[in-house]
């Protein structure tokens, strides 16, 4: 795995010097700033019983739907389309190192974008004059939730990218996967058919993997090992599938 760090540092350097990264960051932060200012409008009109951080993170799915496909669709699909993946693999690097290097670079950028939203809370703290608005519990819990779930979502994006040469298809497939894992599970838990007695085990599985339920725990400062294991094992599963997918494509190309 010694070449993993080389690939990772290369990918991160390419991201940090690319103009598109900063354009994406400006747009992302602009949208999230707009969302956050909308959230704070409610707090100026009447007292609320939920902290602004908890409300902000309830909208985690909005950037996830758009940023994850955009960050990951180029990962492997572009390499395969240009034919550089086979060239790269002639070097003494394994498929695992390549996939992990690209994955962690995408995850690094994903977390960098989310971490920069901490600036919003700094601004809020400056204006609110009440330390409870930036209470550490919901803030840390929310960012931890983003970090843990980001592992899975970026891995799903990399998996989608490993299946095709076309960036657009990879992006759309990543969007569908992330949509199903976020809103899809929440919708499934409200379906009437799932409340039948015969669907008890499926209902349990849906409730277990519902990210909005996990978010409630994280923003209240509760860490559950089941939720951590779910995301970590899901990440490993998606990455292994990505590696297997790339190797299968290489075998049959």
């Amino acid at each position: 795995m010694k070449h993993f760090l080389t690939i990772l540092s290369h990918e991160i350097r390419m991201l940090l010097v690319s103009a598109s990264t900063y354009i994406a960051a400006v747009l992302f932060l602009g949208v999230m700033g707009f969302v956050f200012s909308g959230v704070l409008e409610n707090y100026s009109s009447s007292a609320q019983e939920i902290s602004p951080a908890a409300v902000f993170f309830q909208l985690f799915w909005l950037p996830v739907w758009f940023m994850v496909p955009l960050l990951t669709m180029k990962c492997l699909a572009e390499e395969r389309r240009l034919g550089t993946l086979e060239t790269l693999l002639t070097a003494p690097v394994s498929t695992t190192e390549v996939v992990l290097g690209k994955y962690f670079a995408a995850y690094f950028l994903y977390m960098l974008l989310w971490a920069s939203t901490g600036g919003f809370f700094y601004i809020l703290h400056h204006y609110a004059g009440d330390a409870r608005f930036t209470d550490a519990g919901p803030l840390l819990g929310g960012y931890l939730f983003v970090a843990v779930t980001g592992l899975l979502y970026v891995a799903l994006g990399v998996f989608a990218s490993s299946l095709t040469r076309n960036q657009a298809v990879a992006g759309i497939f990543a969007f569908v996967l992330v949509f199903m894992v976020t809103i899809g599970l929440r919708f499934a838990s409200t379906m009437e058919v799932i409340n039948l007695d015969s669907m008890a085990s499926i209902r349990t599985a849906v409730d277990y993997s519902n990210p909005f339920r996990h978010l409630e725990d994280f923003t209240r400062g509760i860490i559950d090992t089941r939720q951590l294991l779910f995301y970590l094992s899901g990440t490993v599963l998606a990455l292994i599938f990505s590696i297997l997918g790339v190797e299968a494509k290489l075998l049959h190309s």
Binding site: V17, Y22, L40, E49, I123, G221, F230, S233, F241, L251
Partner: protein, 492 residues
């Protein structure tokens, strides 16, 4: 034929190898998560473990003897913000109860969330017809939790969330095999449980008590000559005749020697024959009829609107929520000013009229009634009391608690619990609080309440605009500036 396999065969063998790896990884994923469900830990990182159940609740749940199903009909997307917030509070709390009892095979707590409009059939099967209901079920026995009971109010604002205390008490109550039994006396013209008339019937009250896991029956002391051993509370609802001396003696013995609980609703114009009993317990029921000509004291049909409460567990919820009660014909019932001093007897006036009310002694006369200070009763400072509670406690020397003895609550009116008046929200709440106090249902769990934090931005319009622009421009601007620096550096 070459002994070496062909490229094609090798390719397919390697593909099968990859497929096998995929299946194994999926199995590993499923197995790990299945194990995680049964071997899990939850860590509450908040200060004082705000969102975790207290050790007392956890010890009760660990030994829960029967499974309890909790059905919640609150919805998160309700138009009512209070209901939506209650949903979040209740669902977060119930998740802890479910997790805490996962490893208790006999006494598991499960929570179901039902939208009464989307799943009407399921709701009707459970006897739920209204939304915003919380129902506990154990072996078919129901127990309802009212939404206002979950919050401590002050000045109309929610101060703290009492959910853990309320749910733990309700779970313990419904999982307990024995139902508390309430006997309504009969034989002297009292209001009857099977009477559906709006002015005199108690059928609605019977249903409400059943929904709260009480067993209810009627009792005619002139027939039985004894109070059953399973009597948790005796209710005397609007007698029109006098209790016989031997019946009164049975009730006195019940209160004094069995730490019994009696709720007496004594309307005016009838003498209940319980004067000695009331005297023993420091309560005086005056033979007067209350009138109130003040602007806020009576409604259009002459019912008394009462808002003046004494501080007592029976009236606490009415005080917190600022809810009035409505009584029809009412007499004065108050702490007996002539009672002998007794430190073990705690008497409290529960409900009083407005200061403009008076107790008319000559109510049988047909002329228009006016206050006559020579004969009528009035308390211009505090209003006339129309209900009182008396409790005998035993102070065990240096111990920091009192051992409760008998409890007696007397109301000077009875029609407020009739079918036609029970729907008045304050009336039902007052009677249920009285029953809960009489049956010790308010278990004094040492469970801390969860204070409710309120977040509000107190900013002027210009500050709000500056905040909005800061959020939209500062952080994205910083990212843009960084991008420009990187671009310029690369160019040079």
């Amino acid at each position: 034929m070459s002994p070496l396999p062909s490229f094609r065969a090798v390719r397919w063998i390697r593909t099968l190898n990859l497929l096998a790896q995929a299946v194994l990884v999926i199995t590993l994923f499923g197995g790990l998560n299945y194990l995680a469900v049964h071997y899990a830990w939850r860590f509450d990182l908040t200060r004082h473990h705000r969102h975790s159940l207290s050790p007392e609740t956890l010890s009760y749940l660990k030994n829960l003897p029967r499974p309890v199903r909790i059905v919640v009909t609150l919805t998160e997307d309700s138009d009512n913000a209070q209901v939506a917030q209650a949903y979040r509070d209740v669902s977060g709390l119930l998740r802890e109860y479910v997790y805490a009892t996962e490893n208790n095979p006999r006494g598991r707590v499960t929570a179901d969330y039902i939208d009464v409009f989307q799943r009407r059939r399921d709701a009707e099967a459970l006897g739920i017809t209204q939304p915003n209901t919380i129902l506990l079920l154990c072996d078919g026995r129901p127990r309802t939790i009212d939404l206002p009971a979950l919050y401590q109010m002050q000045g109309g604002e929610k101060q703290s969330f009492l959910g853990e205390q309320v749910f733990t008490a309700a779970i313990l109550d419904v999982a307990s095999p024995a139902k508390k039994k309430i006997y309504f006396l009969s034989g002297h013209g009292e209001m009857q449980l099977d009477d559906v008339s709006p002015s005199h019937g108690l059928s609605a009250l019977y249903a409400e008590l059943g929904a709260r896991n009480f067993a209810v029956d009627s009792l005619d002391l002139s027939q039985t000559r004894a109070i059953p051993s399973d009597a948790a509370v005796i209710v005397i609802a609007g007698p029109q005749g006098r209790q016989q001396p031997e019946e009164q003696e049975l009730l006195r013995q019940y209160l004094a020697t069995r730490a019994g609980r009696i709720i007496a609703l004594i309307p005016p114009m009838y003498s209940p024959g319980l004067d000695d009993l009331f005297y023993d317990w420091g309560i005086l029921a005056d033979d007067v009829l209350i009138y109130d000509r003040g602007p806020d004291g009576q409604n259009g049909i002459g019912d008394l609107i009462l808002r003046n409460y004494g501080d007592h567990p029976v009236t606490r919820q009415l005080i917190d929520n600022n809810v009035p009660v409505r009584f029809g014909t009412t007499r004065s019932v108050r702490t007996d000013p002539g009672r002998p001093p007794d430190t073990n007897l705690l008497v409290t006036d529960l409900v009083a009229t407005a200061k403009t009310a008076w107790g008319e002694r000559n109510y049988r006369l047909r002329n228009a009634h006016q206050f006559d200070e020579r004969v009528d009763l009035r308390d211009a400072k505090r209003g006339l009391a129309v209900a009182a509670a008396s409790e005998r406690v035993t102070n065990n020397g240096n111990l920091q608690f009192h051992v409760p003895g008998g409890r007696l609550v007397v109301f000077g009116s009875a029609d407020w619990i009739a079918n036609g008046n029970l729907a008045t929200i304050g009336n039902l709440s007052l009677f249920l609080s009285t029953i809960n106090w009489a049956t010790d249902r308010d278990i004094d769990l040492k469970v801390p309440s969860r204070p409710i934090d309120k977040f509000q931005l107190s900013l002027s319009q210009s500050q709000l605009v500056r905040l909005r622009y800061s959020l939209l421009l500062l952080v994205p601007g910083a990212a843009a500036l960084l991008g420009l620096i990187v671009y310029w550096t690369r160019r040079n």
